[in-house]
């Protein structure tokens, strides 16, 4: 095999090399290396992102267990962009732990990203499992990164326990699948399901339960709000998007591509989980007084909306789910970045900290409003098209009840998003000084704004891209 920039696995190897480099730089620099390491990581990620654009589509390795198809490349770009936005935010963190332990922080983020990148290409049960573990274990460390805080340790421990149990459930389910098919290749799943083996169905159901933990779908969502509340906000913005996207990638590989013509048999299960996830996420978000917990529960609801797209088990359904992921990336990460800006100034994640924000910092309040409207699904921002297309795909499959439920709860979601908007625009605060926004945090917010408004005004190219990516899976 000759070396060329498009060969599969090159981006992953480069990413790991970057992670090791970050570690070495962290060891040899004295004092505060946070800026230096953060910039090194960001520049390295730009290079890795470039590699995904010159990658040869359709190349594969190890008897098809690692493929570099359109879908994998789309997912990899999504993960890298999410990481870059998050790192822009975390560069502004002034906490002493980040100053001293920056190398560990960035190494953990990069090694988790290696896991996600491999996962996007994995078409083998063993590889999927190992990639999932590589993605998850650094996440537990990062959640408990501010280790002197007792609530942080508690949240990290909860996340760790739930995460390892879910990995065990995944491994148990996979063992049944291997027992029936005698192969770890995903190509073996479809024929075995078509054969109607009950043990196979049980194995796949268990596997789905384990994966539901990873994407925080009902009834496996309890870890999310605690972890979000305790961890540092730029990391949480990433935690809420990238690992969830990775979980969806694995689900699509297993239940759409792997199951093949039998994938429709999972429709009732996925539709039921989608419905319950939307109801739980949205209703639990209403009483929250902490903005990060509110965004955590609303994030759970968004996972439910994406599951609606999956439940259609059609090319357009999967495509619209991918489109939803992109819209969710910009909307959700943008909202978290505004939360970070407010928290740095007010030292509070309470919703009351947003009182009078429109008078104090009109641009910041406007940005937050746009992100919230996108999450709520108002026309001409990205979230509107995302919800509309997902509903559309589900209606094509006759899932009228699910779409009706989703539409009703969208109104509930708008209610709690607008509760935040009311504090920003209608209620007044004693303080009138503007909230200082660090330059890089501002840049992250602007990138997310461009994404949300750009997709909202001109969704065509993104929809075409999602449709093209999804069509290769069917």
């Amino acid at each position: 095999m000759t070396f060329d920039l498009g060969m599969p696995l090159l981006a992953e190897v480069a990413l790991f090399a970057l992670a090791v480099l970050v570690l070495i730089v962290g060891l040899i620099t004295q004092g505060n290396a946070h800026q230096r390491i953060g910039w090194l990581t960001l520049i390295g990620l730009v290079g890795v992102l470039g590699l995904t654009f010159v990658a040869t589509e359709g190349a594969s390795l190890f008897s098809l267990s690692f493929v570099q198809d359109d879908f994998a490349l789309f997912a990899k770009r999504l993960f890298i962009v999410a990481t870059m936005v998050s790192l822009l935010g975390s560069l502004t963190l002034r906490h002493s732990t980040f100053a001293r332990r920056s190398a560990e922080y960035h190494f953990a983020i990069l090694s988790s990203l290696v896991g996600m990148m491999v996962l996007a290409s994995a078409r083998d049960l063993v590889l999927i499992f190992v990639a999932f573990e590589l993605m998850s274990i650094p996440l537990y460390v990062l959640t408990g990164f501010l280790k002197r805080d007792s609530t942080t340790s508690e949240a990290a421990l909860k996340f760790f326990l739930v995460g390892t149990v879910s990995s065990a459930v995944i491994a148990y389910g996979m063992s049944f699948i291997y027992g029936v098919t005698g192969s770890t290749a995903l190509e073996a799943i479809g024929p075995a399901l078509a054969d109607g083996s009950p043990l196979m169905v049980l194995g796949m159901t268990m596997l789905f339960a384990g994966l539901s933990f990873k994407i925080a779908a009902f009834p496996f969502h309890m870890w999310a709000p605690d972890a979000y509340e305790a961890a540092s906000t730029p990391f949480v913005a990433w935690l809420a998007v990238a690992p969830k996207a990775a979980g969806f990638v694995a689900i699509i590989r297993l239940y759409v591509e792997g199951a093949g013509s039998t994938s429709l048999m999972w429709m009732p299960m996925v539709a039921a989980i989608a419905g319950m996830t939307i109801v739980t996420g949205n209703l639990m978000a209403i009483p929250q007084s902490n903005i990060k917990r509110l965004l955590a529960y609303s994030g759970i609801a968004h996972i439910g909306y994406m599951l609606i797209g999956l439940a259609a088990f059609s090319s357009s359904g999967v495509a619209m789910m991918l489109f939803y992921l992109v819209a969710y990336l910009f909307g959700n990460m943008g909202a978290f970045m505004v939360v970070e800006a407010v928290a740095q100034s007010e030292s509070s994640d309470g919703i009351d900290a947003y009182k009078g924000l429109a008078q104090r910092s009109p641009l910041l309040a406007l940005a937050m409003l746009i992100f919230l409207l996108s999450l709520g699904g108002i026309p001409f921002v990205a979230g509107f098209w995302a919800k509309l297309y997902v509903f559309w795909a589900a209606i094509e499959r006759g899932l009228y009840g699910l779409v009706f439920l989703g539409a009703v709860l969208t109104v509930v979601a708008l209610y709690y998003y607008l509760l935040v908007a009311r504090r920003m625009y209608i209620e007044t605060s004693d303080r009138t000084d503007p909230i200082p926004v660090p330059g890089l945090l501002g840049l992250a917010i602007v990138i997310c704004l461009i994404g949300v408004i750009g997709i909202g005004v001109y969704p065509g190219p993104w929809v075409d891209m999602a449709l093209r990516v999804a069509s290769t899976l069917f």
């Binding site: 696995l9 390795l61 332990r101 953990a108 990639a131 650094p138 460390v141």
Partner: protein
């Protein structure tokens, strides 16, 4: 009944009893000793299925390595906390319900379509075959495990080191 069947049922009985003892014994240290027995019993099952390599790994890593580390962890934390740690079993009814439901599900599923009783054709030297597949088809997950180890080690060191 063949000798193999007798050995299987004996090992299974040992496994079920020791596994129940792991979760039911109040004393954490006793639970770990029962766990060692359960892991050894699993190795016996592997041996019965002609998987000698797996049985050896099971004994070395789990019954040997993991149990030793857990014993160390108990000794060290008991000294730190200054009291004997007991396993609490307040939610035993719920746990039994979930386990019973899962057992019922598994039994009915297997009975619905029994698994093949014939053994698949195996290579003569199973250990060699495992080694070869780990370095050919499964070389990527194998290498990825090295990255995983590095990340996990760094994470563990990060939490364990005292703050300066």
């Amino acid at each position: 009944m063949t000798g193999e069947a007798v050995a299987f049922y004996a090992l299974s009985a040992m496994l079920v009893v020791s596994a129940l003892a792991v979760v039911l014994s109040k004393n954490l240290f006793h639970a770990v000793l029962w766990l060692a027995l359960a892991l050894t019993g699993t190795a016996g099952i592997f041996l019965l299925l002609d998987a000698e390599f797996l049985a050896a790994v099971q004994l070395l890593l789990y019954a040997g390595g993991v149990v030793t580390i857990v014993v160390f962890a108990i000794v060290v934390t008991e000294r730190l906390v200054g009291e004997t740690i007991t396993q609490t079993n307040r939610r035993i009814a719920g746990g039994a319900l979930v386990c019973g439901a899962l057992l019922w599900l598994l039994i009915t599923t297997v009975l619905e379509r029994p698994l093949a009783t014939e053994r698949p054709i195996m290579p003569d030297d199973l250990t060699k075959a495992i080694g070869e597949s780990v370095l050919t088809r499964f070389v990527l997950p194998f290498e990825l495990l090295a990255v995983l180890m590095l990340a996990a080690l760094l994470g563990a060191i990060y939490f364990a080191r005292p703050e300066e």
